[in-house]
């Protein structure tokens, strides 16, 4: 599932990878300037992501440095005498996005990475998403399995707090497993209907 050539996956390094991947997906849909892409990114990912326009410019520069985007000065629609920097995907961008869809996610924040992929996925990415969701579900089960079980004898305050912490972990993982299963179901239903 994971990509092999380190050069091809270089752009996926670092904690901003989900946002970079989502930006790449948006560029493939339609070129745009930094402000436009920041607005589209915020609309696509939702308020919980707190997309910062300055971060978007920085990420676009990174995509350009890694050869996945190219920027050109183009006249503004509102004022043709003035220009702004419009980013376009390069020929390598589509393959890079497919590779990202296939790449295993880091443990944290896994859900955000998957959500970023979902936000810009193309129909041809459906199978990759199903594999990624299945891997995520399994990862959540593994994490739940690693939690040390309660001995059922908690009576002290520290033991109670420990149990509550444990419960928070289980609750979060259960939500994630349910979400992954529900998302797979949606994609599968779409695939069935479209055939």
């Amino acid at each position: 599932m994971a990509a092999g050539n380190p050069e091809k996956t270089k752009w996926m390094r670092g904690p901003s990878t989900p946002l970079r991947g989502a930006l790449l997906g948006l560029l493939l849909e339609r070129p745009g300037h930094g402000g436009d892409l920041a607005n589209r990114l915020a609309a696509r990912l939702g308020e919980t992501w707190r997309v910062d326009t300055n971060d978007v410019y920085r990420l676009l520069e990174q995509l350009e440095k890694t050869g996945l985007a190219v920027s050109r000065d183009e006249p503004k629609r509102s004022n043709h005498r003035r220009t702004h920097l419009v980013y376009h995907p390069t020929r390598a961008a589509s393959g890079a996005l497919s590779l990202w869809m296939e790449t295993l996610l880091p443990r944290e924040p896994v859900r955000l990475g998957l959500q970023a992929k979902l936000s810009v996925a193309r129909p041809q990415d459906a199978q990759r998403l199903l594999v990624a969701l299945r891997a995520y579900e399994r990862e959540c089960l593994v994490l739940a399995h690693l939690v040390h079980p309660a001995d059922g004898e908690a009576r002290s305050w520290p033991a109670l707090c420990m149990e509550c912490t444990r419960d928070a972990v289980y609750a979060q993982l259960q939500t994630e497993v349910d979400w992954a299963a529900r998302t797979r179901r949606r994609i599968n239903e779409y695939l069935q209907d479209s055939h």
Partner: protein, 249 residues
Amino acid sequence: MTPLLSLRNVSKSYPDGGREIPVLDSVWLEIEARASVGVYGTRRSGKSTLLRIAAGIELPDAGSVRFDGRELAAISAGERSRLLRGAIAFVCTEDWHAAPGERVVDHVAVPLGGAGLTMRVARRRALAVLEEVGVGVGASQELTAALSLAERMRVMLARALVREPRLLVLDEPALMPGIGERDRFYALLRAVACERRIALLVASEEIAALQGVGMLVSIADGELCSSARAATVVHLPRRPPAGAQRTRR
């Protein structure tokens, strides 16, 4: 090693109006002797169907279910029923049936009557198992109608254990009002399974209720997802977890 229970390529559908809804779709699951597997799934995810098929109560539409090397579809209904009264014990919270005026000890001893034991011997064994699951001598003489849900679960567990099964299948035993009660019951369950060296297949709507199992499996849309790479088993620890045993009434 031959697994104690194996489900291979098992499929099951139920009719819904004019169409068939797949509940299990080419499911694979293996459980070795003394292993424990927890099945997590939301309501109507298919976990109860999986458990009933694993216990031989239902047969799949397709695929193979083998218990101790025997293909369950190839044996008669009578033999399957004998398996369910012996080597396989199935416990479902919703299946609580107690005769009016029945005492707890008798409720647990009754299944042994079919095994040819006198009621006196059966009661003695029932008392020992009730003690093992935390129901003391005094409580064992009470009427079953007086039991709380948590006590009822322990009595149901005792009734399953008294037949000395090799595989214990429990469907949704976590439906208890108190979280502490639930945790204590599960700790007891793990300890008893470990001490008695029996395999455990337990399903719940709460992942937290399945803590401590050797392998965690989720079920959705007829498919299983496992915490293990292959759908087989991690053995229970040789010793029960510290403090896991019995509470006394």
